[in-house]
Symmetry: C2
Subunit: 198 residues, 2 copies
């Protein structure tokens, strides 16, 4: 039987590609890469703007369940945290310990359902305090993933101080980058996804 | 306040862009058009392979509800019917009257939720009997939509006998076209969507 790969990409506005006028976001190149490697890939992008890990946790399971019925290989990319560390009212929307707890729960559910997972954290922002919270959360998310043998791709540490990233965010809405920024995110994710599905 | 348009595109494998290796499907150009017209557009593609109208009816409301919380203008494209008229076991999966009932119910729910809708039917197939069922269903779906003042785009009648469509389906998997076929579908949908969001 030919391998028939189905991947759900669950997350927030960065997964939805907000600000990328081409519509591709990082999801486009991440699905194109295994396709170029000869795999039969169906991708289901499930990013929703403004969602924290708590919002995502509330909807992800039935949405993924409905999409991973057929095919031979069912996988989930979980991308979260940007809205957890954002602090529109001076206080972060979700405390770090809660984000980690929610992520751990989702990974345990994915494992129980037989869906190999890959996790990514949020990219850096333009404000130092925000980026510091992103870096700390990403490091802690990596540990939660590692404890379950799940691969984690850090989108923050490699892009902090990268002028191309800063420029792309500046050209976007100040939070989300333009298409160039999404290509930078894809550049970090594509190699990880290639190893993961190999 | 700037207009902030959020569109959910609910459907089956044709909405998911199955067979289009570029990943764009018809959803890509349909979202790009109002964006090129200067609108701020967020698109949420919600096509799931193999789903009949009954499957779609079961999941669409909570999925759309989760995505149409913010923004100023909430809309839904409903694209269904291809799997209803397919007959893998010699009998169509969903009788036409049932499809129409389900569509009417979804349109009434969308109206009650304050989401303007646009409806499309399935494109033609390679088998005459299948295409006849698609044409009949499309004509009936158009009436269900018209009775509610909802625009309907027929994807079947304009493509029956079009050698470019037949070629694209042949180059695809025999049911879904390749990227060229999705561009033909987008060519029918883009003008309708432009009028609808104007």
């Amino acid at each position: 039987m030919t391998r028939d790969l189905r991947i759900c990409l669950v997350g927030d506005s960065f997964t939805a590609g907000t600000g990328d006028r081409t519509g591709a976001g990082w999801v486009g190149p991440v699905l194109a890469a295994p396709r170029d490697d000869g795999l039969d890939v169906t991708g289901y992008p499930l990013g929703v703007r403004r969602e924290t890990s708590l919002d995502i946790a509330r909807r992800w399971y039935p949405e993924v369940r409905a999409r991973l019925r057929h095919g031979t290989d069912h996988r989930v990319v979980l991308s979260l945290g940007a809205n957890d560390v954002s602090a529109p009212a001076g206080r972060r929307r979700v405390p770090q310990e809660r984000t980690l707890e929610v992520l751990g729960g989702m990974l345990d559910e994915a494992h129980a359902a037989g869906w190999p997972a890959l996790v990514t954290g949020p990219p850096p922002g333009t404000e130092a305090a925000y980026t510091d919270r992103v870096l700390a959360l990403s490091a802690a998310m990596a540990e939660v993933a590692a404890a379950r043998d799940v691969p984690f791709t850090d989108l923050a540490a490699p892009l902090v101080g990268d002028p191309a990233w800063a420029e792309a965010v500046h050209a976007g809405d100040g939070v989300h980058p333009d298409a160039r920024g999404y290509r930078l995110l894809a550049g970090l994710l594509v190699p990880a996804v290639r190893v993961w599905v190999a």
